[in-house]
Amino acid sequence: MMNLSKFLTVFLIGALFLTSCSDDDDDPNPANDPEVITTMTVTLINPTDANNVVTLNFLDPDGDIGSTSPTSNVEGELRTNTTYNGSIVLLNTTENPVERVNEEIEGEADEHQFFYLTSDLGITTAYTDQECDYNEEPCEGTNARPVGITFTLTTTDATGTGDLRVLLLHELDKDAEGVAGGNDTNAGGEADIDWTFENIVVQ
């Protein structure tokens, strides 16, 4: 019976431990998904006319697992035969203060690349930035590859409406054929953004 009393002692210690750790009634810390992108704004500025600005807005206030579907719209109209200076801004407004997601992409520019894809109205895009714009290293070798935070969009003389698909890939093969030229076919990688803005008017 000596063993029984030993056992009971062990059990009582266990029970004490049990009650002591069940006594945490503190509320847990809230956590947001920091990878959430709630706001994406693509701005296209006509360098010859400061009043001709086209803005593509994407809004998903509850992030990608929230039940509300994101919405997007296009403000302004593109003109024919014009090259626009484009830039993209990504925000996470669920954080306080609001997080500028661009910084994260700039910080790992060698792992990320935006693609601006369309086959409508002869519209073409081209990169105007390089990885070296976001770091201190010299602009040579792989550090000269594009990222796509800034770009140009050129229209032809065709008018009508077109779509623009914005793709952000990470862990892609930036050296694969065509990738540096803005073609995602051989890029591989994984999509952080894959969104199509519809009904962009060119006239």
């Binding site: 509320d27 847990p28 810390n29 947001n32 509850d62 990608d64 790992e108 953004i193």
Partner: protein, 800 residues
């Protein structure tokens, strides 16, 4: 001088002795401690005299002197015991002998097989089979049993399915401790090293009520080998090397027993495997690094005993790189191309996505027997489960942090009394208290919690009985009550809260509406009262036949994933959503097993029907548009369903050398109202095995096994999602099963006696001999890659 003293003492003793009155007598009975039955033919020996008990166990010894004697009491079924009595003080004495000691020692019990229940469908894997799977997983080994299949994530995460049901519906008892290792997730394998088990029994259904009332699928009972109560030291080392995965697994165990009942037992395992290979390509990032150790000590006396056990399990499992996709177009592309997106050179390196899981289990158990009454057992166990899941996240820095960090701590106390003194019935009753705490470390992950923090309290009480009506008829029955109380702290996105319509029903559980990021903090407190019961009969007839019939009612409270899941699973590119409105599942299962066993051949046929009210299923229901495209949404849903199935088994010993085994299993699961098939039901399969045995030639055995798995033709409809690439809604073939497949496996082994005590067992196994290319419906990664190609395993095991 010393010699002189001795002689002096001797002389004085003789003087005293001769002065004694040697007319004393001793009377009494020799009785079986266990059930109080008097033992006829027991012998009592002392000073070269021997007395034998009569038919009532009575004895009388005359002519004793008034001093101490040592009586050795023996009976053919019992261990001899020595009692020292002072005849000056005692004239009557009943001697109790330990009649059932052979059952306790369990070195090898012959004759009556000891099953967990009398009437349910059961099967047991013995030591040899377990050893064959030493380098694999519990789920792989259990597939030897008809009716047991597995839900896989790749080839190293293997969850057992019993008669179509898995996850929380399957209880796993490890050393009499119910595993609490987050069994709720499809990609969470049991955190068990198969090498800790000496035997594994599967009860197909909820009939073993002493373990739990919610085993709608069944119970897997893993028991260690016992160390005999004699002075002994033995051990065993098994080393396996395999070609596929290019790795090794080693396991060693050692046990020390003492005559006085004490024992020590230790065991350790180490497994290191690199990338596996399908017939045509490397399955990049599929390695595994697993460590396990266990240690036990205790004392086993007939009247009482104490066991202490601790085990540690740690595994790092790589998840196929190609299975991580950013959006549904990735899934569509994977299904269409039929080849993994990422194929790299072979490596042992484990990179993201991966899982790192650690499980600690400690238990202490005490038992005491009461004469002519029974055995009382009480146990405390502690479990700590830590799970990290690493994903490929947007930046490398984020990828270094786990996406999931859950810590599950469980304390359980059980106490049972088994009344086994009467020959024609035995009763068992017991209680259970359990406390569980889940902690999701959101600061570490920097991500929303997939499973919230919670405290769970459980209480249970059961009463079971087994009645022997006559030699051929046994009856068993039981009832159990379980109370579950769960107190969680859960954040909801306001939009999800509204979409689910929770505001109407659950406004009172909101404790903070002003949480950053449009979230609500809620405090769901739910409780569930569950009753389970079972009744069954075992009838043995015509010498070799046995019929078992059983009805089991089981109720299961929804698990935390079913209630609270709410998030994106990257590995499956799916959003999983739980439902806090769920009630307990209620299952009514009828099962029959008819079997014949004799030397030449035997068979078993086991049909069953399981009717489940409020069955909880997780299935794709639609898609959700996000910035990354539209993801399939998997929702938990409750419905009434039924499962009908049959397991069959046959063996034949054609001659001294040749033997064959044949297994077949079939299950059909459908929803009651719509008759829509349930998701993830195992396809019918047939296994045939031809074995050649030659005992004279170093126990040589060689077997060729054919496993044919039919295509699952009954599956729920596919869903349609919006594809950015196609620019329109497309059918996502997320439920379409792959084709049927046929596998050949070869196994051979020989046993060499090195000397009297040591032997050496060498085995060679070739799985998928023909290097067949196939995909398995019950593999969650079937969209992305083929199953394993040929695998040659060499196994060397030394007993010492």
């Amino acid at each position: 001088m010393k010699g002189l003293t001795l002689i002096l003492v001797f002389l004085i003793s003789v003087r005293i002795l001769s002065a004694q009155d040697c007319e004393q007598s001793l009377t009494g009975r020799v009785i079986d401690f266990h059930d109080g039955v008097p033992l006829e033919g027991a012998t009592i020996t002392f000073n070269n005299q021997m007395i034998v008990t009569d038919s009532n166990g009575n004895y009388t010894i005359d002519g004793l002197c008034a001093l101490s004697y040592a009586f050795t009491v023996s009976h053919e079924d019992c261990n001899s015991q020595v009692f020292t009595l002072d005849i000056a003080k005692v004239s009557t004495k009943n001697f109790y002998l330990e009649h059932h000691l052979n059952e306790l020692q369990e070195v090898k019990i012959t004759g009556k097989d000891r099953t967990e229940t009398s009437s349910a469908q059961e099967a047991t894997l013995d030591q040899n089979t377990i050893e064959k799977y030493s380098s694999a997983t519990l789920g792989d080994a259990l597939k030897e049993i008809p009716g047991v299949s597995s839900l896989n994530t790749g080839s190293t995460i293997v969850k057992p399915i019993i008669q179509g049901l898995s996850g929380s519906r399957v209880l796993i008892m490890n050393n009499n401790v119910r595993m609490q290792d987050m069994e709720w997730g499809d990609e969470h394998a049991p955190n068990i090293d198969i090498n800790t088990a000496g035997s594994i029994t599967v009860v197909k259904g909820a009939s073993a009520l002493q373990y739990g009332g919610d085993a709608i699928g069944g119970i897997i009972i893993m028991k260690p080998n016992r160390v005999p109560a004699k002075d002994t030291l033995f051990g065993k080392t098994t080393f396996s090397a395999m070609s596929n995965g290019r790795g090794t697994a080693t396991t060693t165990r050692i046990a020390k027993g003492y005559e006085n009942g004490w024992y020590l037992r230790g065991q350790g395992s180490l497994k290191l495997l690199g990338d596996f290979e399908a017939p045509d390509y490397v399955l990049s990032n599929t390695g595994v690094y697993e460590k396990g150790a266990s240690f036990a000590f205790g004392i086993h006396k007939f009247e009482y005993g104490l066991d202490a056990f601790y085990s540690f399990y740690d595994t790092e499992i790589a998840v196929l790189s190609a299975s991580h996709i950013g959006n549904p177009d990735g899934l569509i592309a994977a299904i269409n191309t039929g080849q993994p997106r990422i194929i790299r050179d072979f490596t042992y390196e484990i990179s993201n996505p991966k899982q790192e899981v650690t499980h600690h289990l400690g238990t202490i158990k005490y038992y005491k027997r009461f004469e002519e009454l029974g055995k009382w057992t009480t146990q405390y166990d502690f479990q700590h489960n830590q799970r990290f899941e690493f994903d490929i996240r947007r930046t490398e820095e984020r990828s270094r942090r786990p996406s999931i960090d859950l810590e599950l701590t469980t304390h359980t106390f059980t106490s049972e009394f088994e009344f086994d003194a009467k020959p024609n019935y035995s009763l068992k009753t017991g209680v259970l208290l359990r406390y569980q705490d889940n902690f999701a470390d959101a600061l570490e992950t920097g991500a929303r919690r997939l499973i919230p923090d919670y405290d769970r309290y459980e209480m249970g009480a059961f009463f079971t009985g087994e009645f022997t009506i006559n030699e051929s008829l046994l009856l068993d029955a039981g009832i159990r009550y379980d109370y579950t109380y769960i107190d969680a702290k859960k954040f909801y996105l306001q939009s999800r809260w509204d979409e689910r319509g929770y505001e109407n029903d659950f406004a009172d559980i909101v404790i903070d509406r002003e949480v950053t990021g449009s979230q609500l903090l809620t405090n769901p407190i739910f409780d569930y009262h569950n009753i389970s019961s079972t009744i069954g009969v075992q009838y043995s007839f015509k010498k070799h036949y046995q019929l078992r019939a059983n009805y089991a009612l089981a109720q299961r409270a929804p698990n935390p994933a079913e209630l609270f899941s709410d998030g994106l699973h990257h590995s499956a590119a799916r959003i999983e959503i739980g439902n806090i409105r769920f009630d307990s599942e209620v299952s009514h299962k009828l099962s029959i097993s008819l079997q014949k066993n004799n030397e030449q051949w035997g068979w078993e046929i086991s049909p069953y029907a399981n009717f489940i009210e409020d069955f909880i299923i997780l299935e794709p229901t639609g898609d959700l548009t996000t910035i990354r495209g539209s993801f399939p949404v998997w929702e938990y849903r409750q419905t009434d369903a039924y499962l009908l199935g049959i397991d069959a088994r046959m063996y034949a010993n054609w001659s001294k050398y040749w033997q064959t085994d044949h297994n077949f299993s079939l299950v059909k699961g459908k929803e009651n109202d719509s008759n829509v098939p349930l998701i993830n039901m195992p396809a019918p399969n047939v296994t045939n095995k031809l074995t050649f045995l030659c005992k004279d030639w170093f126990n040589f055995q060689a077997s060729l096994e054919s496993r044919y798995t039919f295509r699952q033709n009954e599956f729920p409809p596919n869903i349609f999602v919006f594809s950015q690439n196609a620019g329109e809604e497309v059918e996502l073939e997320i439920n379409t099963p792959p084709d049927a497949y046929h596998l050949l496996n070869f196994d051979t082994s020989m046993l060499f006696k090195v000397n009297k005590k040591n032997d050496l067992n060498i085995g060679l196994t070739i799985n998928n001999v023909l290097n067949t290319r196939y995909r398995n419906y019950l593999n969650r990664l079937r969209y992305f890659a083929d199953e394993l190609g040929r695998n040659i395993l060499l196994r060397i095991s030394i007993n010492y």
